[in-house]
């Protein structure tokens, strides 16, 4: 064999045993590995949720108990539609390449890229609202102008009962002293949702009187025990939410990078090896459907259950 002998068998044609060419078999193995990656994270979600002390899931002191009440279900539903559509356009791209219609194939590949960018834009708005929503925990009820503004919840822990006083809202302004340290935050507390009727909410909170109101409070760092947004550090729920959706988002970005590469360079490869190019789009598509599938699991697990 000469130098040409380095041509790899079954690079293009299917192997009689697996009925797949090398790349397709490889991408399936890669997806098996990905299943283990996301599987481990989903398992972690289950373990964290089952192990969470009563009343702390999804977030301590949230006036809700279900994940979907702190996440935006309509936006996620929109994203589900976008992602499923992108899987369809991905498939169309491969279909037209197999039909030998290059420009149509590329058109649908471009559609897939645009849809995935749409997904990421929606995700940006979701993340942004979480990162601007703050939860403040106090050791004692917060009283402003003789009126208690914080809510409280009591839940059992290993050491006995623990009562958390908390407030949800947004920081409207951060006032710093001359040394650059935070002097106080202007904090717009959320209106209490009128009737969620949570059994764990004790009678001490008088949220109903605040319904619809947005009291602005000055919060000094010494006033509260902990302040955190609904970002990763907010609770284990928001943590695993950001980890899972963030990792999924990275997979979307990775897919987009590959597809943009094919959009830019596909023409020259198509001229030389049209079948090989179609195969590459097929492999990209398999990966893309997997990323889609992960979202199909993420959506109910995080937003609905």
């Amino acid at each position: 064999m000469s130098a040409a002998a380095t041509e790899i068998p079954y690079d293009m044609e299917p192997h009689p045993l697996t009925r797949m060419y090398n790349g397709k078999f490889g991408i399936w193995l890669f997806l098996a590995s990905e299943i283990m990656l996301f599987g481990a994270l989903f398992s972690s979600y289950v373990l964290l949720r089952v192990g969470a002390p009563e009343g702390t899931w999804p977030i301590i002191g949230a006036p809700t108990v279900l994940g979907h009440e702190i996440l935006n279900v309509p936006l996620a539903a929109l994203n589900t539609v976008i992602l499923i559509s992108s899987s369809v356009t991905m498939l169309m791209s491969w279909y037209y390449l197999k039909e030998n219609k290059f420009s149509r194939g590329q058109f649908f590949l471009l559609m897939t890229v645009l849809l995935s960018c749409g997904f990421l834009v929606v995700k940006y708005f979701e993340y942004n609202s979480k990162l601007h929503h703050y939860l403040v925990e106090f050791d004692a009820p917060l009283v402003v102008d003789g009126e208690q503004v914080s809510y409280s919840r009591t839940y059992p822990t290993a050491e006995g009962e623990r009562t958390v006083h908390y407030l949800h809202g947004h920081i409207t302004e951060t006032v710093k002293d001359e040394d650059g340290y935070v002097e106080y935050y202007k904090f717009a507390a959320d209106a209490r949702k009128p009737d969620h009727g949570h059994a764990h909410d004790d009678g001490a909170d008088h949220g109903d009187s605040h319904a619809g109101a947005h009291p602005e409070i000055e919060l000094r760092p010494s006033d509260y025990r902990r302040m955190s947004n609904w970002g990763p550090a907010g609770s284990t729920f928001t943590g695993i939410y950001f980890t899972l959706t963030g990792l999924h988002g990275l997979h979307i970005v990775g897919g987009v990078v590959v597809m943009v590469y094919f959009l830019l360079t596909g023409g020259s490869m198509w001229k030389k090896l049209p079948d090989k190019y179609a195969n590459r789009i097929e492999c990209t598509g398999l990966y893309w459907h997997f990323v889609d599938l992960v979202w199909i699991f993420l959506f109910p697990v995080l937003y609905l259950l």
Partner: protein
Amino acid sequence: MSDHSHDLPFWKKYIFSVDHKMIGIQYTVTALVFLAIGFGMMLVMRYQLAYPNQPIPVIGQFLGEPIVAAVENPDTGETGYVLTGDGYNSFGAMHGTIMVFLAIVPLAVGGFGNFVLPLQCGAPDMAFPRLNMASYWTYLPGGILMMFGFFVKGGAANSGWTSYPPLATIATTGQTIWLLGMVILITSSLLGSVNFIVTVVQLRAKGLSFFRLPFFAWAQLVTAFLLLLAFPPLEAAGVLQLMDRVAGTSFFDPGGLIVSGVEQNTAGGGSPLLWQHLFWFLAHPEVYVLILPGLGIISEVIANNTRKPLWGYKSLVYSAIFLGFMSFIVWAHHMFMTGMGTTLSTFFQATTMIISVPSVIILTCLIISLWGASIRFTVPMLFALAFLPMFGIGGLTGLPLGLTASDIHLHDTYYVIGHFHYVVAPGTIFAMFAGIYYWFPKATGRKMNEWLGRIHFAGSFVFINAVFMPFFFMGMASVLRRQFDQTETLHGAAVQGLSVMSTWGAFGLAAFQLPFVFNFFWSIFAGERVGANPWHATTLEWSAPSPPPHGNFLSEPVVACGPYEYSVPGEAEDYTMQSPPPATA
């Protein structure tokens, strides 16, 4: 090296090579360097353990803060450099990490797997040559990043190679580097394992059915599946711990953690045990990643040097597959002492006893293969013969650890260290040496020097036992692992002599690696020239020229028989090659 190359420029041939043989050699050399670094760290630690708080001779002054601290000798006024507790912890964590993830696995899988596997399959190269290059060029930066940890504030990772939270969560920046390095290394191993599986399944030569594959190829195939499926959970765990450290989450933190008197202001609600489950879900299959390629090499060497077929080839194959499967459901036997409950402990105790059965079958098959053979005592065979009892000791001492009752006493003692080092050091590393001596002629066209090899073997064999045998007795005397100075406890001080013995064993072992290092480099240029098949072996890699050209075989190999057709009655030679080379070769 002979001039079989075509007109590739230097950097394409030796640096960014897509040839599986060059990548295999790159992996081997890099992994040997990391092996030496990990070994050097161990020597420093062993010196501290034998002579607590004494200045480290010679190299102490080069280690720097915070690994060593300068102390003045009140009698002589000389400045000495003593290993600090933090430095000891860093060295301990990095010794484990380097040996497992940067030395043994890259050597066994990246090195031998890459070089030998496509040849044994009769393939011109790996299924994805460029992915293969990417795998090496992900591994090397990952390794360098890991070592870079020593140059950040607080030194390298110092929470043990297992990185248990909450200790690892609050550790110095080195731990973040460790996690990033780990993610990169996992990516490298993923690229490699996909490549290996596709190569074995799709690129086998004509006539090379699965049950004509050499056992080494089977071992690599099972290993690749373990790497493919077991590493991602560690990647998930690494991501979660990275989030805990960088983004302030509390996945492994139940809350209320107080560090240096300050309460950590986290949300809480996490579980430290979650890390252990995710970590050991990787790290137990990892044990088989460490040993299976070694068993594969030993099988090749034993069949070749006993001049008869391996006894129970199919039993070996089925055992390796069963071992791979079972290794996914034994992980929590590392966690008997975490209080996870007797039901779980009983389950994992049972699976642990079950997984010892295929290991014993493999070892038994290899021992019976020696029966009635007229053994050629070549250097690779010497290492292979030493491997068998050493791996036996390592395996059998694992049984008391797998039983919950005896594990209560032995858990986290030196006994554990003795157990897994017997599997990995005189086990896997001896297998690696056997492999290097065995396939060196294939890679270079020259043989390594026989007598230097024998000196290397004899010294290593004696001293490696002097290093690790005392650990069992220290462990049974309840000396805890990861202890900086065992003489501070009464029971530790009582067996300090064993620790000194182990340290001197380690220095002896180091001395006897010098003939190997010399032999390795000297033989590349001046070793005895040999032909394509100096060992009169049967498997496909010996049908290619030595060293094989780009594309490997001079004519497409067609396989007519099984892998170990030695001493077939009626044949002119005592070996029948799977695919005899063309007469001109």
